[in-house]
């Protein structure tokens, strides 16, 4: 067995943190913004108040971590789904670069938009 030192611990940590954070926060957010408000079940708050809450520096930091870590979470899982589900292990370097690269790019864009 090739005992190559793995860099998986790094991505796994991001994956884990993203998994936990997204499990906690996303359902409520998605329900409110994506379903309840558009369907008129609840009345969405006015532009100004949304802005006030979401643009609060603390909220921005939370949002940044949520987005970035969740992207890494998704990237990590999707990468293994491609390996296992479609047996694309032989392309592993390419897939890893695309998945984690995508997450990294997404995080940068998010940071740029937020600040």
């Amino acid at each position: 067995m090739s005992a190559k030192k793995s860099n998986d611990p790094f991505f796994w940590t991001l994956f884990g943190a993203g998994g936990a954070l997204s499990a906690m926060l996303i359902p409520a957010f998605l329900f409110l913004f994506g379903i309840a408000t558009p369907l008129g079940w609840v009345e969405g708050p006015a532009y100004e108040s949304v802005k006030m809450v979401l643009l609060h520096p603390l909220a921005r930091i939370v949002a940044f971590f949520l987005v970035s870590l969740s992207l890494f979470h998704g990237a990590h899982r999707f990468r293994f789904t491609l390996y296992d589900g479609l047996q694309l292990k032989h392309l592993f370097q390419l897939i890893a670069v695309i998945c984690y690269g995508g997450a990294l790019a997404g995080s940068i864009v998010t940071g740029y938009i937020l600040w």
Binding site: M24, L30, V109
Partner: protein, 138 residues
């Protein structure tokens, strides 16, 4: 290892099967697993949506209003319902598996797995409630 039996290792006569590409459609448990893994796409989609909302918010009120209007289209509502289903599945599987990795103790007493999972759910309900109240009360 059984060094003397090397000639039997990978014996040519032994029959081997290669897993078919779509191995996971045969068993319910495997489909469920692949579905769990695919929730990663829903998670990614959701945070991208969040970023889009931020961008609109930061651009102008008009942009924000137009976004909320777009989100009212049946197409997007459907997408979001699907995504929510997947994300909820992610949440449940995640909380149920968390105690597997984490062993918590109070003194000598090991906190049972069910309580750790329960704690996760409790926190989740509280946090979701807070978000909801903050949102509704504007």
């Amino acid at each position: 290892m059984n060094r003397n039996a090397h000639h039997t290792l990978h014996h040519p006569k032994w029959y081997r099967v290669q897993k078919p590409i779509f191995w996971w459609v045969k068993r319910f448990a495997d489909i469920r697993f692949i579905f769990r893994e695919l929730t990663s796409l829903a998670v990614a989609y959701s945070v991208i949506l969040l970023v889009v909302i931020y961008r609109a918010l930061l651009t102008s009120e008009a942009a924000y209003t137009s976004l909320t209007t777009t989100l009212r289209e049946p197409f997007w509502v459907t997408i979001n319902v699907i995504a929510l289903g997947a994300v909820l599945y992610h949440t449940f599987t995640w909380f149920n598996l968390a105690p597997r990795a984490i062993v918590m103790r109070l003194g000598k007493w090991r906190i049972p797995d069910l309580m750790i999972a329960g704690g996760n759910y409790a926190a989740w309900i509280v946090i979701s409630g807070v978000i909801y109240l903050a949102y509704v009360s504007g």
